[in-house]
């Protein structure tokens, strides 16, 4: 650490540049991870809020909630205590000038997927809904009457709740009967047992079964991965992040290698004096560690700062534990990059430094 730190102190510009590169790479990694988290929660936060274990859908629906169609009678085929029925449809909600894609959830208010309101009241009557607070950000207010694209029914916002987006659309929570009126119009009475799926909160997904072969028990994580576009999106961003790890490792390796090559004769003299390979190698590793930590911490701060100033339309959400893990990975790959330099140092022949 002694050599490492003194060298950094003496050659501030050189090392500031390396720190700058590491900072930019970590900034990019953190920002992409924020974007990945943001885009993911855009798709899944309503599902995450259920804190459920599995969802039961029609086999033919191929794990797609809107395509699944079952009846409330199917509850009898499932031997679980905590269940919640769910009807779902997508529509365009209009209130005056405001227009928004929404996802309507029809639920029973006494079951566990009922959200807590953060503002306003819970629905008590038909055609009353609790809306995602992202609609509030868009300008919708409590008391707004929403016209839906697929029906003559009008829904009234009575309250707002947080973390309520499903497959990139804000969710409106309403009574199951509200959902059925929107979906089936005049035929809602005959279809009052029609739902899309049953959400189950249990111990393990393996122990949840249904006696009806037309139904499928899907683990919640699997269900999320099958949301349209979800897996493709997260794979793309994660691939970029993993690639950045490789890039930063290579960048650090090149920088340090060039620095090390410049210092070969100095290392040779030190080795001639009897300073061990171990000491010199530790010094290079310690130096890399210092540079990487400074770069990553500055990049981290810069990311949070940028996040604070971004408009809400940018789907960035910072998941601090994930970012800390990525930061640690960046430090580790930087140190891996230093291994090249260590090998170079070990190979230096002190005899040549003396000119023997």
């Amino acid at each position: 650490m002694f050599l490492a730190w003194n060298e950094i102190k003496k050659n501030k510009l050189r090392f500031t540049l390396i720190i700058g590169v590491l900072m930019l790479v970590s900034y990019l990694v953190f920002f992409l991870s924020g974007l990945a988290t943001g885009l993911a929660s855009l798709n899944r936060e309503a599902v995450d809020k259920w804190d459920a274990t599995a969802i039961v859908l029609n086999v033919e629906s191929d794990k797609s909630l809107p395509q699944s169609s079952i009846t409330t009678d199917e509850l009898n085929t499932i031997d679980e205590k905590e269940t919640a029925v769910l009807g779902q449809l997508n529509a365009i909600a209009t209130s005056g000038e405001l227009k928004q894609n929404i996802s309507l959830f029809g639920i029973n208010p006494d079951e566990f997927i009922m959200p807590e309101v953060t503002e306003g009241d819970v629905f008590t009557n038909e055609n009353e809904v609790i809306a995602s607070d992202t609609l509030q950000d868009d300008g919708f207010k409590i008391g707004d009457k929403l016209a839906l694209s697929s029906t003559e029914e009008k829904l009234t916002i009575v309250g707002f709740t947080d973390s309520a987006r499903f497959n990139a659309a804000p969710v409106l929570y309403g009574e199951l009967s509200t959902f059925q009126k929107v979906k089936f119009g005049e035929g809602s009475e005959e279809n009052k047992d029609q739902i899309n799926g049953i959400v189950i909160r249990g111990d393990e997904v393996e122990s949840i079964t249904t006696s009806n072969n037309d139904l499928e028990v899907i683990e919640v994580e699997t269900f999320i991965e099958n949301l349209p576009g979800y897996t493709e999106q997260s794979l793309t961003l994660n691939f970029m992040i993993y690639f950045l790890f490789v890039i930063s490792s290579v960048i650090v390796a090149i920088f340090l290698y060039v620095l090390t090559v410049q210092k070969i004769s100095m290392f040779g003299v030190m080795k001639a004096q009897g300073i061990s390979n171990g000491y010199l190698s530790r010094s290079v590793i310690a130096q890399t560690f210092l540079l990487a930590v400074i770069g990553v911490v500055v990049g981290f701060g810069l990311t949070l700062l940028t996040g604070a100033f971004l408009p809400s339309a940018v789907p960035v959400a910072f998941d601090i534990p994930t970012m800390i893990i990525y930061g640690l990975v960046l430090i580790v790959v930087a140190i891996l990059g230093a291994v090249f330099s260590v090998l170079t140092i070990v190979k230096i022949d002190p005899l040549k430094a003396i000119g023997g």
């Binding site: 002694f2 050599l3 003194n6 060298e7 102190k9 003496k10 050659n11 004769s265 100095m266 003299v269 030190m270 080795k271 001639a272 004096q273 009897g274 300073i275 061990s276 390979n277 000491y279 002190p350 005899l351 003396i354 000119g355 023997g356």
Partner: protein, 233 residues
């Protein structure tokens, strides 16, 4: 007691027809408190002698014993430890680390080795060498002579039993060169170390207790009279 001893040490490079004896069979001993010069033209085998005496390489045959440790069959790692403990190098091009201040050059040795000079001893050494004012300076800010004096301080700081100096006056003018030799002599006597100076500068031999001449890989002790002749020739 001999602090360094070469017994029939020989160094050859290559094999068969191309075999070259860089250093022919050599016997050499040096005692504590001796200042010894090895002179000879370039290519005579001086550097080979220096690197073997300094534990940087092993002889092809024969023995090298430094302070009772036989280095002949040691690997580089063990030799490196002996070098750290027993030998102080003063090299032609200064052996200072460019990004460390004079004080930190010494501190680096504290990091890798115990039993170096105490603060008091170091203060005195700085004073002797006339570099007390340079403690906070980097090598790049020093003159050639100052750098060489710092290099001497660094070599002495670890309290080695042997100091090996490779052309310590090469980059200095005559006056500075004599000054450096004077200092080396003084430190050798006061610290009771053994100093071996390898040089082709025969002006320096006045300061030495013994003078060896290296010619074509053969090391030969010069009598006082012969040395005088060398100088005048």
């Amino acid at each position: 007691m001999a602090i360094i001893e070469l017994n029939k040490a020989k160094k050859t490079f290559g094999s068969g027809h191309k075999q070259v004896d860089a250093m022919k069979e050599t016997n050499f001993t040096a005692e504590k408190g001796e200042l010894i010069a090895i002179i000879g033209p370039s290519g005579s085998g001086k550097s080979t002698f220096l690197t073997i005496a300094g534990g940087l390489q092993s002889p092809s045959s024969g023995e090298i014993i430094i302070n009772d440790q036989n280095l002949s069959n040691m690997n580089e790692k063990s030799r490196s430890k002996v070098r750290l403990k027993e030998i102080g190098f003063i090299l032609q091009a200064s052996n200072l680390v460019p990004f460390l201040t004079v004080d930190n050059q010494m501190k680096l040795l504290d990091n890798v080795k115990k039993d170096n000079m105490t603060k008091k001893e170091l203060d005195k050494l700085y004073e002797d060498l006339g570099i007390s004012d340079l403690r906070k300076k980097y090598p790049a800010d020093l003159s050639g002579g100052e750098r060489q004096r710092v290099a001497i301080a660094k070599a002495l700081y670890s309290k080695p039993s042997i100091i090996l100096a490779d052309e310590p006056t090469a980059s200095l003018d005559s006056e500075r060169a004599y000054e450096v030799m004077e200092l080396l002599k003084k430190e050798t006597k006061s610290n009771d170390t053994t100093t071996i100076v390898v040089t082709h500068d025969i002006r320096l031999i006045d300061y030495c207790d013994k003078v060896y001449k290296m010619t074509d890989g053969i090391l030969k002790l010069q009598e006082k009279q012969e040395s005088e002749e060398l100088k005048t020739s």
